[in-house]
């Protein structure tokens, strides 16, 4: 090895301080070079970017605010526990204005500009349906927390999933037996004359029929209506239960006028808490609801039998025992729905880890891994309760809560079983090409 010049004589090699510093600087420069960082992090610790399509403005803003809080809490919990496959999770938020056209643009922006791994978090059905084509075209998995039946209807595409909240068709079917057995068998429906109302209009009558009860009248109220008194005479006198799903700012007027119409002698009332999400149940005018029943996905008020996971979830999200923001009793949460964000993010974590997901090139694998999921056990990741997942229709099925308004609070009086809400699949997404 040794030669005259000592070039290859290691014994003669000396490392001066200047040379060492140069070498270290070069090494550091290389490590800090953008390309190198990207490469090394992609292999190990680059964040998994989740595009959060948020309703920050528009009609869904109250939901959007709480969906963001819940998602941020879930991301923190996931990151504190080591992230997804050891990689941290980062939420990238874009406002869709609760508008389907803007929603589609936002999905494309996530896919092409932010280059997020998935898109997540949409609630309003028309935004989901408007955005779904963009998700399919960009081949980016789109995890929604919408409650609508649109995903399970298999009318969207293979990239759209709803694994964190049960769809409304299943919810209605699961609650019909309790309504027929406990509230009454002659039901009058009052619903807004648009799609949210139509789900109830279409799914409730067959579900009640199967339980030996009947919908004896259906009263559709135009979305532009601000006074409801003129509709109440249409309620048949023999009505035993009024099933109401009014939504929007007019709901307070609706309840107040219904109270004035009936006085103290009223039929049973059964409603969807969607009407009063983010609204204080003790607001003036809502006294008439005392003793009535509501569907809740997850209970707004802390219950005596809450699991440790439910308590931990509520603490992490920052809601007090009354379902309002800790420190601000007037900031009432959208508790019945927002748990879906928490649970969906854990489903994403599970599916990514199952798929060995490394980056956008593995999105198809992520779709298949999600479709392969079967059930989610109740626990810290699924505090609302256990769920099953049908990979063919991309929809989960969980338990539902029926709560009674008592003393200004909502008390859970019945929990449905998962099987109460199962129905025949209407199609199969897995037959579509990826």
């Amino acid at each position: 090895m040794a030669d005259k010049n000592g070039f290859f004589d290691l014994s003669k090699t000396t490392l001066s301080r200047r040379t060492a510093l140069k070498g270290m600087a070069a090494g550091a420069g290389l490590a800090l070079a953008p390309g190198f960082v990207r490469y090394s992090q992609a292999q190990s610790s680059a964040p998994i970017k989740i595009g959060f399509q948020s309703h920050r403005t528009g009609i869904g803003a109250a939901y959007g605010r709480w969906y963001e809080r819940t998602s941020a809490a879930a991301v923190k919990a996931i990151n504190d526990a080591g992230g997804i496959s050891g990689r941290p999770v980062e939420l990238v938020i874009e406002d869709d204005g609760t508008d389907p056209a803007r929603g589609a643009e936002v999905v494309a922006k996530f896919a092409k500009q932010h280059k997020t791994d998935i898109v997540f978090g949409t609630l309003f059905s028309h935004v989901v349906i408007g955005s779904a084509p963009a998700a399919g075209e960009n081949k980016i998995p789109y995890f929604v927390v919408s409650e609508g039946h649109h995903v399970a209807s298999t009318k969207l595409n293979r990239y759209v999933f709803q694994p964190g909240i049960t769809d409304v068709k299943s919810q209605i079917q699961a609650m019909a037996p309790w309504i027929a057995a406990n509230a009454g068998k002659k039901v009058t429906q009052i619903f807004p004359d648009f799609a949210f109302g139509y789900d109830h209009r279409d799914y409730l009558p067959p579900a009640l029929k199967a339980q030996g009860a009947d919908v004896i009248a259906q009263i559709a109220i135009p979305p532009t209506e601000s006074s409801f008194t003129k509709y109440f005479p249409q309620i048949p006198a023999e009505t035993e239960v009024i099933y109401h799903v009014m939504v929007g700012p007019a709901v307070l007027t609706f309840v107040k006028e219904l109270g004035e119409f009936y006085g103290s002698q009223r039929p049973q009332l059964f409603g969807f808490i969607d009407s009063l999400e983010a609204v204080d149940i003790n607001s003036p005018g809502l006294e008439f609801l005392d003793g009535s029943h509501f569907w809740e996905g997850s209970p707004r008020y802390a219950q005596p039998d809450d699991s440790a996971a439910q308590k931990a979830y509520r603490a992490a999200v920052g809601i007090d025992d009354n379902g309002a923001a800790v420190g601000d009793p007037k900031d009432v949460s959208t508790a019945a729905h927002m748990f879906g964000c928490w649970e969906t993010l854990y489903v994403v974590k599970k599916a990514m880890e199952d798929a060995g997901y490394k980056g956008p090139e593995d999105r198809a694998k992520l779709v298949e891994a999600t479709e392969a999921l079967k059930e989610f056990a109740e626990g810290p990741e699924h505090p609302q309760g256990p769920k099953t997942f049908n990979g063919k229709i991309h929809q989960c099925f969980g338990i539902q809560n029926i709560s009674k308004v008592e003393g200004g609070k909502l008390k859970v009086v019945h929990k449905t079983k998962i099987e109460d809400g199962l129905y025949e699949p209407e199609g199969d997404y897995t037959t579509q090409a990826l």
């Binding site: 920050r56 403005t57 874009e94 406002d95 204005g97 508008d99 389907p100 056209a101 589609a104 643009e105 494309a108 922006k109 896919a111 092409k112 500009q113 059905s125 028309h126 349906i129 408007g130 779904a132 084509p133 963009a134 399919g136 075209e137 609508g148 649109h150 009318k155 969207l156 595409n157 004359d193 648009f194 799609a195 139509y198 135009p222 979305p223």
Partner: protein
């Protein structure tokens, strides 16, 4: 229009189309998609401009013409399984027919009454979409599946969901409508429309049938807006009632005012500006509409005739 130099005007318009063509190859992915959307909607603004800019009729109901095209194309694909070209023609025909009917009724009025009348008709149209939710999908809308959005040209299948095909399709529609608009406004018919805007009584006295000309303008405007709606449904795969809401009647008005009413390229500039201000500012604040509002106020203060209208007034008098 002071210097009626057709060569200059046509050269400028062809250059704009050529620039948009080149942009397809240089724009980043996201902006390529956004430009496709902007070009499709700029056609909507051009249709609106035809009536508002050149005839001086302020309509607050043009969302119905856009939606007539949107649903005319979307529903024929969704329910009848029609191909893309037939559906596009159906959409344009629906818009033209609706415009004819609305024109016959609404043109009995003028000024504020015309504005309110068109708004009311659009509201009826919007509520009809909700009423017939079993077919239209109501407020949730309908998805036109990717498989239905393929055009076969000479044995080759063109997938409208492909970013380049979509961009080029939007550009083709934009270019055709732009050149037709340019030809139209430079034609005898276009000059009669401007005459009506400036002084309808005098135009009448000169022997022109202003009623027939206005009706023709409403139909042409409705058909162009419907072409935009039909293209939107077929290119982006979603048909929903929000496109028929009053917001989509006001948007083309804003785009045209911003870009310059009665300028052929103004609608493109206005649409482009509004889209990008919204897109960029929404990344920083949820109060982005406030910023859009401030931007609009500043534009009105410093460019009262819109960007191109003011440029034409101050520097380039030949701009069509």
């Amino acid at each position: 229009m002071r210097d009626a130099s057709p060569a200059k005007a046509y050269a400028l318009h062809i250059a704009v189309v050529a620039l948009l063509f080149v942009l397809n190859f240089v724009l980043p992915d996201y902006h390529q998609g956004l430009f496709a959307r902007i070009m499709a909607l700029a056609v909507f603004a051009m249709g609106y401009n035809l009536l508002f800019g050149y005839v001086g009729l302020l309509s607050l109901g043009h969302a119905m013409f856009f939606s007539a095209g949107l649903y005319g194309a979307g529903l024929t694909v969704y329910h009848l399984g029609w191909g893309v070209p037939e559906a596009f023609v159906a959409g344009v025909a629906c818009g033209a027919l609706l415009a004819l009917v609305i024109g016959l009724l609404a043109l009995r009025t003028s000024g504020v009454a015309f504005m309110i009348g068109t708004m009311m008709f659009a509201q009826v149209f919007y509520l009809l979409i909700l009423y017939f939710a079993a077919w239209t999908g109501g407020d949730q809308g309908l998805v036109i599946q990717q498989a239905s959005r393929v055009v076969t040209v000479g044995g080759d299948a063109l997938d409208l969901t492909d970013p380049t095909v979509r961009y080029m399709s939007a550009l083709a529609l934009f270019a055709v409508v732009l050149l037709i608009t340019l030809a139209l406004v430079r034609s005898r018919f276009g000059r009669v429309l401007v005459a009506i805007r400036e002084n309808e009584e005098r135009t009448k006295m000169l022997g022109y049938d202003t009623g027939a000309n206005k009706l023709a303008a409403v139909v042409a405007s409705g058909a162009v807006c419907a072409a935009s709606g039909a293209a939107y449904a077929l290119l982006f795969g979603y048909v929903g009632s929000s496109f028929a809401s009053v917001q989509y009647s006001i948007l083309p008005l804003l785009w045209v005012l911003l870009g310059g009413a009665a300028t052929t390229l103004g609608p493109l500039i206005g649409t482009l500006f509004m889209y990008y201000v919204t897109d960029i500012t929404s990344g920083f604040t949820s109060a982005y509409l406030l910023i859009v509002g401030v931007a609009l106020i500043l534009l009105v203060l410093f460019f009262p005739k819109g960007v191109l209208g003011s440029i034409r007034q101050r520097w380039l008098g030949w701009l069509p």
